[in-house]
């Protein structure tokens, strides 16, 4: 179209037979690249001279799609971005729109949001732990992690009806209240989980092979980590005490008592330890959220935005009209723009929503933590051995669905 920029060739293959350097393409079908990431590696023997990530294989134009959907229809798109942490994506998007609408969310809905999001964070970390260990060669951990993750997915399914794509949060509250007996089931999971974390520690933390594969690998200093925009466990693994739940609290996180684990080693091992400790902190938050659950409404008092109860629709004319209008025409959002950051399981997930008025957003942008964390991969990988690349990618905990969107 209009741009007249000469796009340079993606990479230059220099054919020098006597040279010791070799260019190889790692991925997009390599199992350790967690999806469809391709790395262009220039190797000198086994040493990585240059690493260039090539992304976009999973690009599905989600941000474009948002502009053609009503605000409430966008929620289901967010599920499919970071598919290991869908409730976090739901929360970030929903909170951005609520900020534009200046809605007040009831206490119970906020507590349930914290409760389910922390369970989801544990589930996301469990997938990271299982696959990270699998990449390095420890297969057993994977089965233990997925056993625990299954319990969380069952809980999320009980609350929302979906295992991987819950779409549980709605603009103004929740889809519906928790089912009967949910607290008891969460408590059952909580009772066994700390023992499982200890199991993971016995499998990996004292394992000398795992230590040698991770300690001192993928170094990134605190200054570099901030400069490269790392966030979440990757940043805290470089000794920076930063957690959006503490720095810019949302959904009532300021009322919860939890630690922000940091490790100063700046390597793959440090990022491993941060996530292992984070699971226990999330467990603590879930316990507190359970004790904070009080009966009450789970939807904001905003009839033009929030769908009415089924019962009200059958008895009240205005509720039926509102239901019809919200579903058929959507609701108007006054012009404005917001950037809403949250601490997702992988780091700062920021949602930028711009409204020109009307029922559809003018622009929705997701600042995915995986996208930014991956951009720092060359900095960490160059100078490493080729086998360390696998460990470093695992420690970044990337999800290509979120990177490519």
């Amino acid at each position: 179209m209009s741009s007249a920029v000469n796009i340079p060739p993606q990479f230059e293959v220099v054919d020098r037979p006597l040279d010791t350097q070799m260019t190889i393409s790692m991925g997009p079908q390599h199992p350790s690249t967690h999806g469809v990431l391709r790395l262009e590696l220039v190797l000198d023997g086994e040493m990585v001279v240059k690493a260039t990530p090539d992304i976009g294989y999973l690009h599905t134009g989600m941000e474009k799609l948002f502009e053609y959907k009503k605000y409430q229809q966008g929620i289901v798109i967010t599920d499919r971005m970071d598919y290991l942490n869908p409730l976090g994506n739901n929360l970030a998007y929903v909170m951005a729109v609520e900020k534009l609408l200046e809605l007040e969310i009831p206490e119970r809905a906020q507590t349930i949001r914290v409760l389910t999001c922390e369970l989801q964070r544990i589930a996301s970390h469990l997938v990271w732990l299982g696959t990270h260990a699998l990449d390095i060669g420890a297969m057993t951990v994977f089965f233990y992690c997925f056993r625990e993750r299954e319990k969380i997915l069952n809980l999320i399914e009980a609350a929302s009806g979906g295992r991987l794509t819950p779409s549980y949060f709605r603009i103004g509250g929740l889809m519906m209240d928790l089912p009967a007996g949910f607290e008891r089931r969460v408590q059952q999971f909580q009772d066994g989980f700390l023992k499982s974390v200890d199991e993971f520690h016995t499998l990996l933390t004292g394992n000398r092979i795992f230590q040698r594969r991770t300690q001192g690998v993928g170094y990134i200093s605190a200054e570099d980590a901030i400069d490269w925009g790392l966030s979440g466990p990757c940043l805290r693994g470089s000794g920076v005490n930063l957690d959006i739940r503490r720095a810019n609290p949302y959904t009532g996180y300021e009322k919860y008592d939890f630690e922000v684990p940091t490790e100063a080693d700046c390597d793959v091992w440090a990022r491993y330890m941060v996530r292992m400790r984070e699971m226990k902190e999330s467990h603590k938050i879930v316990t507190q959220a359970l004790s904070r659950l009080r009966p009450g409404p789970v939807k904001a008092d905003a009839p033009k935005v929030v769908l009415p109860d089924r019962e009200a629709m059958k008895t009240h004319m205005d509720a039926l009209i509102h239901h019809f209008l919200i579903v058929a025409e959507g609701f108007d959002v006054a012009a404005g723009e917001v950037y809403q950051p949250i601490e997702a399981s992988k780091g700062e997930l920021g949602v930028y929503v711009k409204s020109d008025g009307g029922p559809k957003p003018s622009r929705v942008h997701f600042r995915g933590p995986s996208f930014v964390n991956l951009s720092a991969l060359p900095h960490m990988a160059e100078g490493c051995m080729v086998a360390d690349i696998v460990a470093i990618i695992g420690s970044l905990d990337i999800v290509l669905g979120e990177i490519d969107r």
Partner: protein, 184 residues
């Protein structure tokens, strides 16, 4: 499916249903005063709405103001959270905007810088020299909006294939593309 253009045409009829947000330009904000004290040309205007501050910056000044905000002890915006483009619409002039979302890892405050660009001259200097993380954000904005970041070290498409025609997030780019995409 309703297109974006149709819903825009509906706006005047329903104008009273979604009033403009009271975005008061606050010239009294201390940050703005401090910045204008350093250099009068840095800021065109400022808005505070929904608890967020937006500074509109002339594009020639973006690198200077970013370097200042990053290093100044009062601001310490050492973390570039995000850069994203936006298309205001085909008819609008200036058509494009680039939003820089800044964050401070020590002071925990946030700020949005906005550069507005005309369609026929969609160039803006790169801030990769200030924060290295800007690299991929700027490549993404170039890929999807065709905004060119001058002196960017590696400005090529990132999400779409290298031989893709057009810029997909522009408002005049149809949702389903111009034609079935094939590798030529």
């Amino acid at each position: 499916m309703t297109t974006g253009a149709n819903s825009e045409n509906n706006l005047p009829e329903n104008a009273d249903r979604h009033p403009q947000r009271n975005s008061t330009p606050s010239a009294s904000s201390p940050l703005l005063a401090a910045l204008q004290h350093v250099n009068r040309e840095w800021i065109t205007s400022t808005t505070e709405a929904l608890g967020e501050t937006t500074l509109i910056v002339p594009r020639e000044q973006i690198v200077a103001i970013c370097s200042y905000l990053k290093t100044s002890p009062e601001t310490r915006f050492n973390f570039l959270a995000d850069i994203c483009g936006a298309d205001r619409g085909v008819e609008e002039e200036p058509r494009f905007e680039v939003n820089y979302h800044l964050f401070s890892t020590t002071k925990h405050h946030r700020l949005r810088l906005k550069v507005v660009l005309n369609e026929d001259d969609a160039h803006v200097p790169t801030v990769t020299g200030v924060w290295r993380t800007a690299n991929w954000h700027e490549r993404e904005t170039f890929d999807l909006f065709g905004i060119i970041f001058d002196e960017h070290p590696d400005l090529r498409r990132i999400l779409l294939p290298d031989d893709w025609q057009g810029h997909a997030l522009r408002k005049d780019f149809p949702l389903r593309g111009y034609e079935p995409y094939s590798l030529k």
